[in-house]
């Protein structure tokens, strides 16, 4: 009997990223403000990143849910989580009241708990990325 836990984790991780991306994409101006408030990007790069990032999240999350390019999607999500961890850590260290994690509609501030969430998502993504599954890219010839 196959264990359902890996599948459940993959679906959950995918759903979190689809939701996080969609909420940001709904209000690009507000998300751009959040990105700007981190103060990590030059002003010229802020809007393009704010437009692109939510859709990369949605796309990677959707790939995880449908189970296509599973390792790729998990890798992209893990990489994004590394960036989020770094950005939120810097924001906390500098005392900034910003998160933008689930878009502006979910008004929340980054806290140590945000770091825990990000770390948990990162761990889940790494785990999904390295587990062998029946739709494992490396075991299949081509798509």
């Amino acid at each position: 009997m196959k264990c359902f836990v890996p599948v459940l984790l993959r679906l959950l991780l995918g759903a979190v990223f689809v939701a996080a991306g969609a909420l940001k994409a709904l209000d690009p101006a507000a998300f751009a403000n959040d990105v700007a408030r981190y103060g990590l990007l030059p002003d010229a790069a802020v809007n393009v990143v704010a437009l692109a990032l939510p859709w990369v999240e949605v796309l990677a999350g959707a790939l995880l849910i449908i189970g296509w390019w599973r390792q790729t999607a998990a890798l992209v999500i893990a990489a994004m989580n590394v960036l989020f961890l770094a950005a939120v850590s810097l924001a906390l260290a500098r005392g900034l009241e910003v998160c933008g994690c689930f878009g502006a509609a979910v008004a929340r501030k980054a806290s140590a708990w945000t770091l825990v969430e990000d770390a948990a998502l990162l761990a889940a993504a790494i785990w999904v990325c390295q587990t062998k599954g029946d739709n494992d890219e490396t075991n299949r010839g081509g798509n």
Partner: protein, 154 residues
């Protein structure tokens, strides 16, 4: 592994194109290049201590320049919501509560936030000249543990 990396780059590129493409046709589109940030001239700034005294004496109206949902999530007690992004729609309901000589303290959140100075630049031509910006106001106010409330835009 190499293939996974290539596909990861493809995913990022596809997401980016999707984002820029959706933005091109979206009614909520934003420019690719962010308009330059407006810095608050020193003459328009007010120190937290002075703002606090105005608040305690009831001598100033505080205007929150942030988006409505940020206001609802928490704001300076007694402040009115006047989001600079929807100024034309929001101003009529605020106007009746402001005399032009009224001292106004405008705030948003973050050292780099320019919503409050943009609000000041909209109010000044309407005759509101006694206006001051509390830079990084929401953060400073909370840090000083001064009174805040949550709830609907008035």
């Amino acid at each position: 592994m190499l293939r996974t990396l290539q596909r990861a780059l493809c995913t990022v590129a596809a997401g980016t194109l999707l984002g820029l493409g959706v933005n091109a046709v979206s009614p909520r589109r934003i420019p690719w290049l962010r308009p330059p940030r407006i810095t608050v001239p020193a003459a328009n700034q007010i120190a937290l201590e002075k703002a606090r005294r105005l608040w305690e004496g009831g001598d100033a109206v505080f205007l929150d320049a942030r988006a409505t949902n940020a206001f609802v999530a928490g704001h300076i007690a007694g402040a009115l919501s006047l989001p600079v992004e929807s100024f034309d729609a929001a101003f009529p309901s605020v106007r009746s509560r402001l005399a032009t000589e009224q001292a106004l303290v405008l705030y948003c959140d973050g050292e780099r936030c320019d919503d409050s100075i943009r609000l000041l630049l909209k109010l000044r031509p309407l005759g509101y000249t006694n206006t001051h910006v509390l830079v990084n106001g929401w953060t400073l106010w909370q840090r000083a543990k001064l009174p805040t409330t949550k709830g609907d835009a008035p």
